[in-house]
Structure formats: structure tokens, C-alpha cells
């Protein structure tokens, strides 16, 4: 039996232009367009012809970028907003974990607020009295329940809101990203409670940006884009497709920013005809020990600054990043190959040359640096044009933006052409591990310890 059913549902929002928004009563009367000014200038479809149904006991996930219409769908299902067209049917009592503690009045006690909030969520006084102790216990607020809500910390506020909403004991639970704000101790408790709901065959509509949780707990996932359902079905498949799309967009965005930066740089070099003054950097070899990690942002900024120096007896003309398939990319997934390609041109033949690369993260921390000299490649001869390829088979980095140095210099460090932080790439990962790099690892558990493997 379908508990939630949306049949060609659209929700059109009226957009009032800035001109009208700030229009005053006076001008409305003076111009005599009182009612006209109340008319919208533009219509925006936040949800556009969406149909889906959720069976009893199922957990249905909604993913998508901000503004794709996920929260509007929750509001429509909750009845806060009405559909402009189409039909929505929801069986049974709905409780929405959308804004926890909305409607708390700061001046009155937690106890009174529990009653008022409970009534707003559709409970009767008797039901609230029956559940009151449980609500307070779950929120861990026994000592403070008589104090006015304005004295609560934001965590206490949220706990009480969650506790009331979950104790409404709904048939249908709507969850919108609320778990993002809880503290470390309370979030697992909430997740437990949600698990409990799933076991009791309640229906859950779940909106989240936490894709790994979505993939794990949902039976079906819909991916929303621009108010429409782009894809619906098996969680893993939909999440993957969404990730793919996000990656492509990041790639395009990255390209845009790069083009902008190039244009800006071109402008700058026009205004200062001389090449940038070669800073009196002691010929730092690429693999020189990284400077101590700068803590202050200002220093980190400095460490991120793009620089290029060297007389370019040997020049690095282009640096191209490719994936394992040879496609030019700027967004990579961990475990993917990163291929760094250097186009080299030597003005005169040289016998002393070292190629190096280094990767720093957005904090300015050097994650890795190496060169051909450290790895004991003996330079013999270099003349004319050529290509150097550095292939990293499986990129062991965590989610984030990285900056790349590329250099060609002499063995004693004298730079021919040193590109510092001139190239950047993104690593996009669903796993939220921490640190500088992802150390390749596996977990093992003895048979007494039961764990479910990650949903892959």
C-alpha cells in the first residue's frame, strides 16, 4: 500500500522582483496599482511535475543540490505548502523533522513549550501528558524542564525539538537534514531512533546531503534536479549517478575558474611587461623538506600563492592532468589514477636536469613531493622538446582541493623553471576521513565482533 503518493505534483512559487519587494504602501496608492503590485512578476517552479510513491515501511531518500526542490517536496508532503497542481495523498499521521523547536517561545518554560509544540504537531493534551516523561528523558533535560527556554543552549533546544517531534509517534516521518546540527553524542541517539522507526515498519522520507547515510538506510532514492526527478531507483545506482553529475559540474566550474584566472594573469602580465620578479628564493628543490605547516590562514594563503621563477633555459610549457583513461580532468576520485604530463622545451642542450612534482593541500601543507634526482634517475642529455609523465596509479588523497608544483632544475637546486601552486585539482570523495593523505589500509575483525560492511 502506498503511504505517500505524489501524482504529477508541481509547486510554483511567485517571485516578486526587487522593484516590487521594496515598494511601499504610499507608492502603491499614489500609482494606483495597489492590487497589481501584489501580483507576481515571475513564476518559479520549485517542484515540477513530480510523481512517486512510497510504500509502507519503506525509507525513501531525496538527494540533489541545494535548491533542487527536495525541501519543497517535504513541505508539500507535510502539508505546509500546497501543490499548485497535481495530487498528493499521505496516509496516517505525519511528523516533520524540518525545523526542530520551531514555535518554542523563549520566555516560557520547557514544560509549557512541550505542550504547545506537541499541540502544534497534532497531539492532544492527554497524549502529551502520557508521553511527557519520555520526551524529557530522551532530550536529557530532566533538570532544566522548568526553566524558560531562552536559557537553553542551542543543543538543548534542538534535543527537545527532536524529542517532541519523534514522540508524536507518526506513521510517516519526514527528515530534512536536521541531524547535521546535533552534537556528537546526540546524533547516534537520533539515528538509533530512526532505525527503530524503520524496524517498526514506519515510512520515512529522508532528505540529506550525507550520501553515504542515504545509500545505507534508504530502500529507494530519487535524485532531484531543477525541480524534477532526474533519476529514481536503487540507492547505490542513483547516488553514483548523482556523484558523477556533481563531478562533471565541478569539472566545468573548475574550467571556468581556470579560464578566469588565466585571463586575469594575462591582464597582469600585460601591465607589467617584465616577467614576475624572480623571488630570491634559495633554489628550493621540489623535494626539499616542506616548510613547517603554517597554522595561520595568512601564512597558508601565502603558501598557496601561485609563483613561477627561473630563467627558463629549460621551460615547462604545459602541465596537463589526466585520469587513467587519458582524459584531461581536474576532479578525481580517490583510487583513480592521476597522470601529470609536463611538456618540456630546452632552449639549449643541458646535461644537468631534474624533474619534480609536489602536491599541497588547501591548508598549504605539502602532502607529497618527489623528483627524479631523489629517485636516482641519472640525467644524461636533454635538448629540444619533450614530454615527462608522472603517473600516480591510485591517488591516496582525501576529499579537498590540491595544488600542484611542477619544476625542472639542476641537481644543486638551481631552477630552470619552477611552477609553484600553479595547477590545482579536486579530489571528490564520499568518505569523510581526515588527515593529509589516505593511507592504504584494511580492517579485520575477529569472529566475535560483528560488523556490517559498508554499503558498496
Amino acid at each position: 500500500m502506498a503511504v505517500i503518493e505524489l501524482d504529477h505534483v508541481s509547486r510554483i512559487y511567485q517571485k516578486y522582483s526587487a522593484k516590487h519587494r521594496f515598494q511601499t504602501f504610499k507608492s502603491a496608492i499614489v500609482k494606483g496599482d495597489f492590487f497589481k503590485s501584489l501580483k507576481p512578476d515571475e513564476l518559479v517552479a520549485a517542484v515540477n511535475d513530480v510523481s512517486f510513491s512510497v510504500e509502507k515501511g519503506q525509507t525513501f531518500g531525496l538527494i540533489g543540490e541545494n535548491g533542487s526542490g527536495k525541501s519543497t517536496i517535504l513541505k508539500l508532503v507535510a502539508g505546509i505548502a500546497k501543490p499548485s497542481s497535481g495530487r498528493i495523498s499521505v496516509q496516517g499521521k505525519v511528523s516533520a523533522l524540518i525545523e526542530l523547536g520551531a514555535g518554542f517561545h523563549p520566555e516560557i518554560s520547557g514544560r509549557e513549550n512541550v505542550y504547545i509544540n506537541g499541540i502544534m504537531l497534532g497531539l492532544s493534551k492527554k497524549e502529551i501528558t502520557r508521553k511527557f516523561d519520555e520526551i524529557v528523558r530522551f532530550a536529557e533535560l530532566e533538570e532544566f524542564i522548568e526553566a524558560p527556554v531562552k536559557t537553553y543552549s542551542s543543543g538543548m533546544y534542538m534535543r527537545l525539538g527532536f524529542s517532541i517531534a519523534i514522540n508524536v509517534n507518526p506513521e510517516v516521518l519526514l527528515i530534512d537534514e536536521v541531524l547535521a546540527v546535533g552534537d556528537a553524542a546526540f546524533v547516534p541517539k537520533c539515528l538509533d531512533k530512526i532505525d527503530d522507526f524503520r524496524r517498526r515498519k514506519k515510512t520515512i522520507l529522508f532528505v540529506s546531503h550525507d550520501l553515504s547515510t542515504v545509500a545505507k538506510i534508504c530502500n529507494t532514492v530519487a535524485w532531484m534536479k531543477d525541480g524534477r526527478i532526474r533519476m529514481i531507483g536503487d540507492p547505490k545506482r542513483v547516488v553514483d549517478a548523482y556523484m558523477q553529475d556533481v563531478t562533471e559540474e565541478q569539472e566545468a566550474d573548475f574550467q571556468d575558474r581556470k579560464d578566469e584566472a588565466t585571463a586575469a594573469a594575462a591582464l597582469e602580465s600585460e601591465s607589467t611587461p617584465a616577467s614576475r620578479p624572480a623571488e630570491t628564493t634559495p633554489a628550493a628543490a621540489t623535494a626539499a623538506p616542506a616548510e613547517p605547516a603554517p597554522a595561520e590562514a595568512a601564512v597558508a594563503d601565502d603558501a598557496r600563492r601561485e609563483q613561477r621563477w627561473g630563467k627558463r633555459e629549460v621551460e615547462i610549457r604545459h602541465v596537463i592532468l589526466r585520469n587513467g583513461k587519458g582524459e584531461e580532468k581536474h576532479v578525481f576520485h580517490p583510487g583513480e589514477s592521476l597522470v601529470i604530463e609536463l611538456d618540456i622545451a630546452a632552449k639549449e642542450p643541458v646535461k644537468d636536469f631534474v624533474f619534480g612534482i609536489a602536491v599541497s593541500n588547501s591548508m598549504g601543507i605539502r602532502c607529497y613531493g618527489t623528483n627524479t634526482y631523489i629517485e636516482e634517475y641519472e640525467p644524461v642529455a636533454l635538448s629540444g622538446e619533450g614530454k615527462v609523465v608522472c603517473r600516480i596509479e591510485e591517488l591516496p588523497l582525501i576529499n579537498g582541493t590540491y595544488y600542484l608544483d611542477a619544476a625542472v632544475h639542476k641537481r644543486d637546486g638551481y631552477p630552470y623553471d619552477y611552477h609553484r601552486n600553479m595547477y590545482s585539482f579536486l579530489v571528490s570523495s564520499m568518505i569523510r576521513d581526515e588527515g593529509v593523505a589516505r593511507l592504504p589500509h584494511t580492517w579485520e575483525f575477529s569472529p566475535e565482533i560483528k560488523v556490517a560492511p559498508p554499503a558498496k
Partner: protein, 269 residues
């Protein structure tokens, strides 16, 4: 019919309205030492000021008000108390949708609950002030007559009128924030255009002025209170009846505007 189904929806939320009114009354004087007594003290202090200015300094010229400043004070109190209900309700409703914006955006309930709560909680405040008025009337020698039983009729007319005005105000203020400023001036003007500090009897000579005042619905509502509490006489059925019809019309207009703008509230508040 749409309006009927809307009313059913509001009726379903009566427990919520009751709770919110309770919350409003509790929260209003929370943190004050005198608490609920402010419901009495506010009009009382206002009455003292007006009694000094108009009773002692300017001296009323209407013999029907009886002799002495104390009779005038009673007359004043009879009008001031319901006027406070009206003006506070109007002021509160002009803000009520914005102040409770998080409710409108996040929780499913009919938004008209909010102006209803604003008018009703001020009504309850008014009711709290009523015993004080009755005590004053008894002590100062204006015992109640059987006509005092008609006070609820006047209240009903005022409730409908105030609610209609509140619905109109609350919905329009969402789009035109200037209404808040206009309103405070309008209410001052309106206060003096209503026979509260003076009586209609003082205007015997000026039929134009009386004619203008007769166009003000609040004139007849306040006169209704004067009739059944102060003068102890029959209320003017015809005038009050017409006022009731006007109130109903205002209510329907107010509700229609509110209903029409309803969908814009979640985005605009």
C-alpha cells in the same frame, strides 16, 4: 464552499488557538514583578492621566455625565478599556505574521490562527480589566442595571470588527511594512475620533461633526458600552445593528484579502 472549509480547518485548531492565547498571556508579563496586574494597571494609569487632564483641568461640559471628575473618570474607563482591546489587537496583528514567521514556514497550520490569537488574547486581557471597572462603577455610585447583560452583544460586534481589521492588517503588513508606522498614527487619530474622552452629547451644536463621527464604527461600539454600563440604558439597536453589518463586511473583505495573500506569507515574512 471555500470559506466554510477554511473555518472548519480553524475550528479543528481550536486547541492550538487556546494554547497560543495562553502562551501569549503568560509570556506577556513573564519577568515583570506585577505580572497579570498590568492588565488592570495599564488602563487604570491611562484613566488617571485623562481624568486629570480632561476631568480637572478642562472640565467636561456635558451634564449627562453627572457631576464631578469621578463620574467623568468612570465614563472614561468604560470607553478606554474596550478601546485598548481594539488598539492593542491592531498593533499586535500588524506584527503577528512576521514575529511568528518560523511557524508559518515550518509547521502546518492555518495562518489565520495568528491574528485570531492576537485579537483573542487581547480580548481576554480586556475581560480581566472588566471586574475592576465593575467594582469602580459600584463603589462610585453607578450601580449596574439589567442592561449590563447586553455587554456581550457589544463585545460580539467589536470582536467581529476587530478581527476583520486584524486579518486585513496582518496580511497587508507582510507586503507593506509601512503599515506599522501608518497604524500608530491612525490609531491616535481614531482614538480622538471616537467618543471616549468626550461624549456625543458635547457635540449637540455641530451636526457635521456628529455626522462624521457616526461614520466611525467604533463610535457605536464604544457608545454601546457607555449605554449599558455607564448610563444604564438600552443600547441603540439600530446603530449597533448597522455597525454589526459593517463589521461583517469588513470581516469578509479582511478574510478575502488574507486568503488571497496566504500563499505569499511563507516567502515574504
Amino acid at each position: 464552499m471555500k470559506i466554510a472549509s477554511n473555518f472548519r480547518e480553524v475550528y479543528k485548531h481550536r486547541l492550538l488557538i487556546r494554547t497560543l492565547v495562553g502562551r501569549e498571556l503568560k509570556a506577556r508579563y513573564r519577568g515583570t514583578v506585577l505580572g497579570f496586574f498590568w492588565s488592570f494597571f495599564n488602563p487604570l494609569l491611562l484613566m488617571v492621566v485623562y481624568t486629570v487632564v480632561f476631568g480637572f483641568i478642562l472640565k467636561p461640559r456635558d451634564p449627562s455625565l453627572g457631576s464631578g471628575p469621578w463620574m467623568y473618570a468612570l465614563y472614561l474607563f468604560c470607553g478606554l478599556l474596550p478601546w485598548t482591546w481594539f488598539s492593542s489587537s491592531s498593533n499586535d496583528s500588524a506584527n503577528v505574521l512576521m514575529v511568528n514567521g518560523n511557524l508559518i514556514k515550518k509547521i502546518m497550520f492555518p495562518a489565520e490562527v495568528l491574528p485570531i490569537v492576537a485579537v483573542t488574547s487581547n480580548f481576554i486581557n480586556f475581560l480581566f480589566g472588566l471586574p475592576i471597572l465593575l467594582i469602580f462603577l459600584a463603589v462610585l455610585g453607578k450601580p449596574l442595571t439589567v442592561y449590563a447583560l447586553l455587554v456581550p452583544v457589544v463585545m460580539l460586534v467589536q470582536y467581529v470588527f476587530t478581527l476583520g481589521f486584524a486579518l486585513l492588517l496582518s496580511a497587508l503588513t507582510v507586503h507593506f511594512r509601512d503599515i506599522k508606522d501608518i497604524l500608530s498614527n491612525l490609531l491616535t487619530f481614531w482614538f480622538f475620533a471616537t467618543p471616549i474622552v468626550y461624549s456625543l452629547g458635547m457635540l449637540k451644536d455641530s451636526s457635521t461633526l456628529r455626522g462624521i463621527l457616526n461614520l466611525n464604527p467604533m463610535t457605536h461600539i464604544i457608545s454601546g458600552y457607555h449605554d449599558c454600563l455607564f448610563f444604564g440604558q438600552m443600547i441603540h439597536w439600530k446603530r449597533l445593528g448597522i455597525t454589526f453589518v459593517v463589521s461583517l463586511v469588513l470581516f469578509v473583505i479582511g478574510y478575502a484579502v488574507f486568503d488571497r495573500l496566504r500563499d505569499s506569507f511563507p516567502e515574504e515574512v
